[in-house]
């Protein structure tokens, strides 16, 4: 702005020379040019342009080995661990922490010359589901452009991070649901595997699996499961907020990538206010069908409740959640194939999706 002001001033001065006398004109011109000349040498020169040549082409060497700030960490007690290493130049690095029992992966990446608390602080979170358990974790540091470099260390997680504190947990399927669970196997199409299973949980030791084949009554519908809000110990779900835009529903959903399955999550509003879910009486709200063909393994599903169309008043009387397994008969071969999905750790959070 300073330079622009000088210009406008100079412009005005030089324009005014048309009505000034000769001597004064000369001085004005010289002053204006001098002012501009003096102000014409300010540049931003403290940094440099482009990537660092040393980073780009310089030889790589590790200056300090990979180390963990703690060998044993208690995430449930909100302990954290960070990792350190040092190189002679900035490099693209990848630090991968793998749960040796769960297979969970936490991944840090960056372009730095050192790993510090600022870029590798781990609070027990996960990049790739399932969640970590209380387990031994292997930590591996690699640099893609330097294939020969590898750093390893192990960290013992004596307790996992407690995600249940980060919102209102609906259910994590860790205990039997008893009378709060209704399995609607009306067409006898569910397999015996439908129910709480422990083979591949996303969190803890068990999850809920819906599995079946739409081959008895070929009508797309395989079966459903209603989970009453009473599973939380209350008639209605105690939500951290009733504002639909601020309330996020989160869960982990599993698919084997099969091409014909659809999953639906319905949120049930107790229309008649009797404290229980009555089919065809109470209103249900949903976001969309989840196309199970679009992923393989566990993923996190999160959305604000406003996307279901439910109102703030209706959220105050959330009486149940219904899970439906649909078989896309338009795409199914004949006879149709089995479809399935798993679900785990259903939790409501405020303001943002559950952060892993």
């Amino acid at each position: 702005m300073e330079l622009k002001s000088v210009y406008y001033f100079s412009l005005q001065l030089i324009s005014n020379t048309t009505i000034m006398n000769k001597k004064f004109s000369k001085n004005i011109i010289l002053i204006a040019i001098l002012a501009i000349a003096i102000s014409g040498c300010k540049h931003e020169t403290e940094s440099f342009d482009g990537p660092s040549l040393v980073d780009r082409f310089g030889p790589f060497s590790g200056l300090a080995e990979l180390e963990a700030s703690l060998n044993v960490v208690d995430f449930a007690a909100e302990e954290t661990v960070f990792f350190t290493a040092e190189f002679n130049k900035n490099v693209d690095w990848v630090l991968e922490i793998t749960g040796m029992e769960s297979g969970s992966v936490k991944r840090f990446t960056g372009f730095d010359s050192s790993l510090t608390e600022a870029n590798t602080l781990w609070n027990g979170g996960t990049t790739q589901l399932p969640l970590f358990k209380d387990e031994m974790c292997s930590v591996v540091l690699t640099i893609p452009e330097e294939p020969s470099y590898i750093g390893t260390v192990e960290v013992q997680a004596v307790s996992k991070r407690n995600y249940a504190n980060e919102g209102a947990l609906f259910t994590d399927f860790e205990t039997p649901l008893g009378p709060d669970l209704f399995v609607g196997n009306f067409e006898f199409e569910f397999t015996p595997q439908t129910g709480q299973q422990s083979d591949i949980p996303a969190e803890g030791n068990t999850y809920f699996r819906l599995e079946g084949t739409d081959n008895v009554v070929p009508n797309f519908f395989v079966g459903l499961v209603d989970i009453s809000a009473k599973v939380t110990g209350n008639t209605y779900v105690e939500l951290p907020t009733n504002v639909p835009e601020d309330l996020f529903f989160n869960c982990f959903m599993y698919s084997d990538g099969g091409p014909h399955g659809l999953a639906i999550v319905d949120f049930i509003f107790d229309s008649n206010g009797n404290g229980t879910y009555e089919d065809n009486v109470d209103a249900n709200f949903r976001v969309e069908d989840y196309d199970l063909a679009t992923w393989d393994g566990w993923i996190q599903i999160s959305h604000p409740m406003s996307e279901t169309g439910i109102s703030q008043e209706q959220l105050e009387s959330l009486v149940a959640i219904r899970l439906l397994l649909i078989s896309d008969m338009n795409a199914q071969p004949d006879p149709p194939l089995q479809v399935e999905f798993g679900i785990d750790f259903m939790i409501f959070t405020t303001g943002a999706p559950l952060e892993l």
Partner: protein, 604 residues
């Protein structure tokens, strides 16, 4: 900038209203020469016929069976200039081109096009206007087409083909750029203080929209030049001052594009004569100014109206100031200047180059068994119109540091600070005339490192009119040219740069008989060392340094031929040129290029 333009427009209006003794100024105007009330039509033009055989040979072709070793081509063209003056204040001109490629029969390879079309005239004997094609230049930092690389004082034997390139790309000696648009000029004389004042303004379209993502690009600008009266008659003190503004912008209402650039450069140039005597004159000369580069986005505001929102902005300044001393008796002009061109100084109108080094060459673009992209050589720079352009680029163009590393974008090369010195001796018709220029520059901001590059640049040209030494009746002229460049940078080994290049030109023009000349010439070029060439992402932002550039080349371009000049600008020449390219560390990729051609050019 809108305040600047507002001020400019107000000043223009006031001056028009006050211009009782105003007169139109355009020295090149033919309209003012057509004083007859009767309509006039004139036919002029240029005819050209060229037939050439180009060949390639060398180590690189030993395993290469796909490259054709000899290519014969040529063209016959007629540019017919139709100039009409329907009245004494209006003139319209078009150039209609008829072109037939060598070997084209029955219409195949034939083209008919309008090469140029413009209209100009004078309104009320005051305001000159021009619409259509026009050649524009303001100052070296605003709108200017810098010289191409690879030549200093090029031997005359290489001139005919370069003239063809220049003609095809509308290059002029005034470093103008060819544009399409409209222009206004007028001038004023004053009785005191200011002696005369010239104002010009123009607007031109330099790119059309594709109706999708590319918006129409326009350039508008103007100059406000005035000369003072002599302040002190005994010393001859006076000043010539100019204000220059150029604004390049994308019209975001064109097509579906929603982002575009705004590049504004405003400068003041001056030539202050402190002393002007019979034997000597002393001047302070220079130019200073600033550039502004914005990226604008078209958005819809709360009221539902569309408006432009600036999403990025970059400013910088430059300074070029120096002294010039003319020793009139000695025919000697000495100059020295200090330059400080900011690293973020961006002026599309002045920094766009003539040569597109990434452009596709007309001959042998790829050669060798792996179809290697051939780097432009002296041979290509002399004759290949395919790698030349007059268009304004929207980012800093690529360059070859072997040919120009100190100032690849001419005077307006950003990120330079240092001293330039110059010497001019004699006139072209004297026994000896010479020009020497040197620059000692340093980067202001490092590239890829905080270490700064240092540049040394030396250019010298000397002409010997030998016939004046020995009283030979016909022309006998020896021309010499030289360019030496050195670039260095300290730092860690990986940061170090050390590139040296030398170009030597020797030419002989011997008029054996009246108007019949023997032309001989040679250009010897060598480059050695290493450098990093940045790849530019947008505007002047460096995206990366793809790899270390290693130069180990020697190029020898020689030419010999005859030229017979029927009259000025009408001649026939027959020549043989050859280029030998040698790579010290990669001799398997050495190759030679040669060319035999006949060129007949006629202006009428």
């Amino acid at each position: 900038m809108k305040y600047y333009f507002t001020k400019f427009c107000i000043a223009l209006t006031i001056l028009l209203c006050l211009s009782f003794d105003a007169y139109a100024q355009d020295g090149s105007s033919k309209a003012t020469q057509s004083q007859d009330d009767k309509a006039k039509i004139q036919f002029n033009g240029l005819g050209r016929a060229i037939i050439s055989q180009t060949g390639i040979d060398g180590n690189i072709l030993e395993e290469d069976s796909s490259t054709i070793e000899n290519i014969t081509d040529g063209e016959f063209l007629l540019d017919l200039i139709v100039n009409a003056s329907p009245n004494k204040t209006t003139e319209v001109q078009s150039i209609i081109r008829l072109r037939n490629e060598f070997g084209g029969f029955f219409g195949a390879g034939m083209a008919l096009e309008v090469r140029e079309l413009w209209l100009r005239g004078v309104i009320a004997d005051v305001l000159k206007y021009r619409v259509g094609d026009m050649d524009l230049a303001l100052s070296p930092y605003t709108l200017f087409l810098p010289e191409e690389e690879g030549m200093v004082n090029e031997p005359a034997v290489f001139a005919p083909q370069r003239e063809v390139v220049h003609y095809e790309q509308f290059y002029t000696d005034d470093n103008t750029r060819r544009m399409q648009g409209g222009k206004l000029d007028f001038g004023l004389n004053f009785a005191q203080g200011i002696e005369d004042l010239d104002i010009s303004a123009f607007v031109a379209r330099i790119r059309g929209t594709d109706f999708f993502i590319t918006p129409t690009r326009l350039v508008a600008g103007g100059a406000f030049d005035f000369s003072t009266v002599t302040f002190n008659d005994s010393l001859g003190m006076k000043a010539d001052v100019g204000l220059n503004v150029i604004h390049t912008f994308d019209d975001l209402r064109s097509g579906n594009a929603n982002t575009g650039i705004r590049n504004t450069v405003s400068t003041i140039d001056f030539d202050i004569t402190l002393l002007d005597k019979k034997d000597i004159s002393f001047h302070i000369v220079g130019e200073t100014g600033m550039s502004n580069l914005d990226t604008a986005e078209r958005i819809e505001n709360d009221a539902g109206d569309e408006e432009n929102n600036i999403i990025s902005e970059e400013d910088d300044t430059f300074l070029d100031v120096g002294i010039q001393i003319e020793l009139k008796k000695q025919s000697l002009i000495l100059s020295a200047s200090f330059i400080d061109i900011g690293p973020d100084f961006f002026s599309v109108g002045a920094q766009s180059k003539r040569i597109e080094y990434n452009g596709e060459k007309t001959f042998y673009n790829r050669i060798g068994t792996n179809r290697m992209l051939r780097r432009p050589t002296l041979f290509d720079l002399n004759r290949d119109r395919g790698i030349y352009t007059f268009r304004i680029s929207d980012m800093l163009m690529g360059y070859d540091p072997r040919f120009a590393n100190a100032m690849p974008y001419g005077d307006a090369t950003p990120n330079r600070q240092g001293v330039k010195v110059g010497l001019e001796y004699g006139k072209i018709e004297d026994k000896i005339n010479a020009t020497v220029n040197a620059a000692f520059l340093q980067e202001l901001r490092g590239q890829g490192t905080l270490q700064l590059k240092n540049f040394t640049h030396l250019r010298a040209a000397v002409n010997f009119n030998i016939h004046k030494f020995i009283s030979y009746k016909n022309k006998l002229r020896l021309t010499l040219g030289m360019q030496v460049e050195s670039t260095s940078r300290d730092g860690q080994e990986i940061e170090q740069v050390d590139l040296n290049s030398n170009l030597i030109e020797v030419g002989l023009e011997a008029e054996l008989f009246s108007k019949f000349e023997l032309l001989l010439g040679a250009k010897l070029f060598s480059a050695e060392g290493t450098e990093y060439i940045p790849s530019i992402q947008s505007f002047n932002d460096i995206q990366d340094f793809p790899s270390r550039f290693v130069a180990d080349d020697k190029e020898t371009l020689t030419g010999a031929g005859f030229k017979y000049e029927f009259k000025k600008d009408t001649y026939v020449t027959l020549q043989y040129n050859t280029l030998i390219l040698e790579k010290e560390t990669d001799p398997l990729n050495d190759y030679d290029l040669n060319q035999f051609y006949v060129l007949y050019t006629m202006k009428f």
